[in-house]
Amino acid sequence: MKAKKSKSIKVAILLIAAIIITFFLSLSFGSSFIPPIEVAKTLFGNGTGEYDLILFDFRLPRMVIAILIGAGMAVSGAILQSATQNGLADPGILGINSGAGFAVIIYIFFTQGMSFASPFLSIFIMPLFALIGAIAAACLIYLFSWKKTGVTPIRLILVGIGINAAFSALIIIFQLKMDPRTFTQATVWLSGNISGVDWSYVLSLLPWILIFIPAAIYKSRYLNVLGLGDTASIGLGVNVNRERRWLLFISVTLAGTSVAVGGGIAFLGLVAPQLAKKLVGPRNEILIPVSALVGAFLLLLSDLISRTILAPSEIPVGLVVSAIGAPYFIYLLIKS
């Protein structure tokens, strides 16, 4: 037990180191290269005006967002996988992300050209809308996969694929009613995009992540019990349905609010917890924080790739995550 704990600590330290290294690489690379020495100078307050602008207004908020969303999506996926006892569960595949996306599209659609919703206010309202959409999608999935015998993992995931298709179709219908400029913005946002975020986005997402990831860690001991199966959990005195609902609510909230800022980033919630499980094993109180670190690292790395691989053009980070995540998903599928 002790050996395992020290191993987990080592893994966590390595991950944090990897995040820091990627963080500094991300500061240097991008549409224009900034030498590491200049980065250091600028960070300590001795930079030129141009570097100040690029680093503090463009790159830093973007990277903080990548870390927040990566952690949020990963924890969301980790909870889903443990609570449904299904290694292939992911908020993107299950349609929770597209539910949130649909709500945001509706919001954009009805407020375009309206004066009362200032851009600044919108940034804080959008997570709420996304949350409503994510919860609606989750309820629909639960409703349609519910039978007298309960919810089986297979039925849950098939129903999720269907719900995902329905929300995607609705998104297309509303998207095409928008004017061309909003349409393009929505397309880029939907494929998972964190370029062009500023500090207000960080502020709008931060409270959600700061409240709900610790909540997930606090509730993680119930996840261990739920993993033993319903009968065993009831035997151990856990109110199974109440705890599962709470955990699913945390998971859906993290996914929904992350989507509001970062758009539909699929597969991250699937891959990060699976990798974390390989590193530190299935105990949730360790797995959930490590998943958060893995998720933050993966999204930061994907963001760096998305900015540099086809430079000078940028591709939405969600596409990079899919290109990495889908083969891993297929590998898991072959093995299962």
């Binding site: 298709a165 179709a169 297309i172 599928l333």
Partner: protein, 342 residues
């Protein structure tokens, strides 16, 4: 003797005849509605006149001949092709969730079209169709490859999951290509899926492929019935399963590739129609395949009319309309965890 058991009953044959006769009538009627209805409403009499005695001087005749007729025809052909593809796939794999869009075939076609647009600047309809065929083969090959590598073989659920993973992978690569090479606007046409703005030349290029594909489908339909009883039974009955499977695979690629090359991604037609047809005429594919063709055509022509009605004067992509029709059906199948119905 064993075969007799699986022959269609007389009742099923009568129902099939009714579907084919009335279905074709319905198809003609819905095509007439599709032609008459639009930004400028034209009465059915004028539609008829423009076909039997075309007068180039009249704008209405020009609209019908140049725009609306190819559109209605394309919807009917694409609907038929997708439905028949789905029927063949479901019969051969004995998998109720099998269909071109769920199994990555359409995503493969779109991916190769993106590659052709970006790297080879292909713009002829023949070139794009060839790319779509190759892509259809690629998508289907990947999904089936994953299935055969997998320990317990291709269960319906694994097939659906592998299909959605391949679709996600291929479409993210196509989007990246589209954004980098600045062909996103060209490609969005194939993503949204629709038959608006089709020209005669698109249809004429694809028509022989549709005809050949549908003919092969009808020819092998008896063998598919035998295949749908399972490999062991089929081999026991003296069926050469390898040849039938290869022919079926080629037919699916021809029909789906041609459909995607002219209309883009239109999902769920290939899933829903074969199930409805099987419910109506039983499990003999000699009846299912022709009836699926007719009903698939009707569904897509009507969905295309619906797509124009949702938000006039703008057009909603017909792929979104078929998805909204198809999802409840998919959910019904999902509740059964992909079992039964075959």
């Amino acid at each position: 003797m064993a075969l007799l058991q699986f022959k269609a009953s007389a009742r099923n044959k009568v129902i099939a005849m009714i579907i084919i006769i009335f279905g074709t009538a319905l198809l003609v009627l819905s095509m007439a509605i599709s032609i008459a209805f639009g930004a400028a409403n034209i009465d059915v009499g004028t539609v008829w006149q423009s076909i039997v005695s075309f007068d180039p001087a009249r704008t209405e005749h020009q609209i019908i001949q140049r725009l609306r007729l190819p559109r209605a025809l394309a919807a009917a052909l694409v609907g038929a092709a997708l439905a028949v593809s789905g029927a063949i796939m479901q019969g051969m794999t004995r998998n109720p969730l099998a269909s071109p869009s769920i199994m990555g075939v359409t995503a493969g076609s779109t991916f190769m079209i993106a590659v052709a647009l970006a790297f080879a600047s292909v713009s002829s309809s023949i070139g794009l169709m060839a790319a779509a065929f190759i892509g259809a083969g690629l998508g289907a090959g990947l999904v089936f490859g994953i299935g055969s590598l997998s320990k317990n073989g291709l269960t319906p659920v694994k097939l659906a999951l592998a299909g959605s993973a391949i679709t996600a992978l291929l479409s993210s690569i196509s989007s990246a290509i589209a954004i980098h090479f600045d062909v996103a606007k060209d490609l969005s046409f194939w993503y949204a899926g629709g038959v608006a703005g089709l020209q005669w030349e698109n249809i004429i290029t694809a028509l022989p492929v549709f005809v050949i594909g549908l003919l092969i489908a009808v020819m092998i339909s008896g063998s598919i019935t035998v295949m749908s009883l399972g490999d062991e039974v089929a081999t026991g009955l003296g069926q050469r399963t390898g040849i039938v499977r290869a022919l079926g695979f080629v037919t699916v690629l021809l029909l789906t590739g041609a459909a995607v090359s002219i209309s883009g991604t239109i999902g769920f037609v290939g899933l829903v129609i074969p199930h409805i047809t099987r419910f109506l005429v039983g499990s003999d594919y000699r009846l299912i395949i022709p009836c699926s063709a007719v009903l698939g055509g009707v569904l897509l022509v009507l969905a295309d009319v619906g797509a124009r009605l949702i938000n006039p004067p703008f057009e909603t992509p017909v792929g979104a309309v078929t998805a909204l029709i198809g999802v409840p059906f998919f959910l019904y199948l999902a509740r059964r965890e992909g079992r039964g119905m075959l």
